[in-house]
């Protein structure tokens, strides 16, 4: 609820006028789609005869049936309580999605033969690269944030140059620059460390700003109180400021982790066998790209959904202890 108040308006789905407009609009749209040569035409065969020869009449009949089902569905869902509404709409959208993929005529035996390798090799690599990178990025971010808040001109200049540079370049370019550029300076870096370094530096720059905002949100009085107790800077940071800033820092950090999980696909260009690389490569010999891309897409989605659940738990945890 954006803004909870006591005025409860009648929901739109209970207004006959609104539903009539929706019925008419969906009737026009579905009729114009010309669905009589699809599987829906087959369902309607008893009513409209041979689907391909039914012409305008067939299209209108199918449009009417589908728009009635569509509107009826919405009216029925409108009577359900909020939680069940959410669940039903989610399930219906998911079913539509799966039906959409199913209509591609995918080779499921091929997917079954490859999916375990995609998980054991691809998901594993994706997860460990992301996990190491987010850990290192958090460390970079703490130092970056402290430097950005300091009154030391050098520290501030270096930190702001760093965030400006690494937030200003596309991550793909950073991957290339580190992988191809560092060897020019004499250090030959492997593909996985190069990927981790690029992700760390890029996300470290974004997270510097998150940490900075978190630290800045703590009341000035906290600093003054700890100084009056004789706490030095390090102790104040560890014992007073960071514990209070964490509830503000951790939720956006979880968000960054979810984003990084997907951005780690960019390191596939330097030959790391992570999920995206396998999705592009495994189906290549048999020309089954759609199968592998859709499988990888669903795996990414499942991973991020798990992470979203974990993140909302963490958020709830911090909400309860901060109140």
């Amino acid at each position: 609820m954006l803004f909870a108040d006591t005025v409860v308006p009648d929901p739109a789905v209970h207004k006959p006028k609104v539903m009539a407009i929706m019925l008419a609009a969906s009737f026009v749209i579905f009729s114009l789609m010309g669905l009589n040569d699809t599987v829906l035409g087959e369902f309607m065969r008893p009513a409209i005869g041979e689907p391909t020869e039914s012409g305008l009449f067939g299209n209108l009949a199918i449009g009417l049936v589908i728009s009635m089902l569509f509107t009826g569905n919405i009216v029925l869902i409108g009577f359900l309580p909020f939680r069940i509404q959410v669940l039903v709409v989610w399930l219906e959208l998911l079913l539509l999605f799966l039906a959409f993929f199913y209509s591609f005529g995918l080779d499921f035996a091929f997917i079954r033969s490859k999916v375990w390798f995609m998980i054991s090799q691809g998901v594993f690599t994706t997860l460990y690269i992301s996990a190491i990178s987010i850990t290192l990025a958090s460390i970079v971010a703490i130092f970056g944030a402290v430097a950005k808040l300091s009154s030391n001109g050098f520290a501030y200049a270096i930190a702001s140059f760093y965030t400006s540079f690494f937030r200003g370049l596309p991550l793909l370019m950073q991957v290339y620059l580190i992988y191809l550029g560092l060897p020019q300076l004499g250090y030959v870096i492997d593909a996985v460390p190069a990927g981790i370094l690029a992700l760390t530096l890029c996300y470290g720059a974004y997270m510097t700003e998150i940490f900075r905002a978190g630290i800045q949100s703590i009341n000035k009085g906290q600093w003054e109180a700890s100084r009056s107790m004789g706490f030095k800077f390090g102790l104040t940071m560890r014992r007073i400021i960071l514990p209070q800033a964490m509830p503000l820092i951790i939720p956006p950090t979880g968000n960054q982790f979810i984003a990084m999980l997907k951005d780690s696909s960019l390191v596939s260009v330097i030959g790391v066998w992570e999920l995206m690389f396998l999705a592009r490569t495994l189906g290549n010999k048999d020309f089954k790209h759609m199968e592998m891309l859709i499988t990888a897409a669903l795996i990414y989605w499942c991973l991020t959904m798990c992470l979203e659940v974990i993140q909302s738990r963490i958020e709830r945890h911090y909400r309860t202890i901060s109140h």
Partner: protein, 277 residues
């Protein structure tokens, strides 16, 4: 005095850096023999030359050639799969020792890489959609033609293909078309299969790759005769003449005793190893 010393330090550092970045003769060969491992860079998206097979291992014509070379060097082989533009960029810095990746020895590539020898030739052809009206290559003038980026096929479309190898038949540019770049040939074929003129009117690629796509039910057909023959060579980083000669010797042996012919027939059904088509 102080300034002089600074200049001296700078000069020495610069000289040292230059020395370390220069390759010494025999460096790559020494590295391979010392480690007992030949690191080979290949593209994993290039069936039937190199791809990931049903057992999730690297397989294909290039892979077999690389395995055979490693066997004759009496070392193990390891495969690394960076993207193609990183391989052709050169300056490998010892990340891998050899590319067995069906690379055409062009003049511009010869500036950054060395080519110990050509191991086979493939015809490059033009594919169009099955239902398209085109009959001759020249019909495609001004149309949208796809090719993998940084490939010889794209250079052909850009009229900038200079092949630097012996035994290659001369060719001429038969069409002037709008060049569309793709990540690789397969991506171009994926767009071409959508229909004639939907995104592309045709694509230039290697004949074996086009034929295997047609076998996999891609609605394509080959237009006319091959537009040029492509010599495909081993590639190594510049600066190791000894490694170059060693590989050239192994390649000559493999040609002479029929190993290359056998491998070519195994993967293509045709002997591409010597005739030039």
């Amino acid at each position: 005095m102080k300034l002089n010393r600074r200049i001296f330090t700078f000069a020495t550092t610069a000289a040292l850096t230059l020395c370390t970045s220069m390759s010494f003769a025999g460096e790559a060969l020494d590295r391979v023999m010392a480690a007992g491992v030949l690191n080979v860079a290949t593209d994993a998206n290039w069936a039937p030359q190199s791809f990931i097979n049903d057992n999730n291992e690297m397989d294909g014509f290039d892979i077999d050639v690389a395995r055979e070379i490693a066997k004759r060097l009496s070392v193990e082989v390891e495969f690394i799969t960076p993207s193609w533009d990183i391989i052709t960029a050169g300056k490998w810095n010892g990340r891998w020792d050899l590319s067995v990746g069906s690379m055409t020895p062009t003049k511009s590539r010869a500036e950054v890489l060395a080519f110990p020898g050509v191991y086979y030739y493939t015809p490059a052809s033009i594919a169009v959609h099955k239902d398209s009206p085109f009959e001759e290559v020249s019909d495609l003038n001004g149309k949208a033609i796809g090719a993998g980026t940084a490939t010889t096929f794209e250079l052909y479309l850009q009229h900038d293909l200079q092949i630097d190898a012996e035994g290659v038949p001369a060719f001429e540019y038969q069409l002037t078309a709008e060049n569309k770049s793709y990540k690789d040939s397969t991506a171009a074929m994926d767009d071409l299969r959508l229909g004639d003129g939907v995104r592309l009117n045709g694509m230039v690629g290697s004949l074996p790759a086009i034929l295997s796509a047609i076998e996999a039910n891609y609605p394509l057909r080959v237009l006319g005769d091959p537009v040029f023959y492509e010599p495909l060579a081993l590639a190594i980083d510049r600066g190791d003449a000894e490694f170059n000669d060693k590989l050239a010797g192994i390649l000559a042996d493999m040609k002479a005793d029929g190993t290359l012919t056998a491998l070519s027939v195994k993967w293509y059904g045709i002997d591409f190893s010597s005739t030039g088509g």
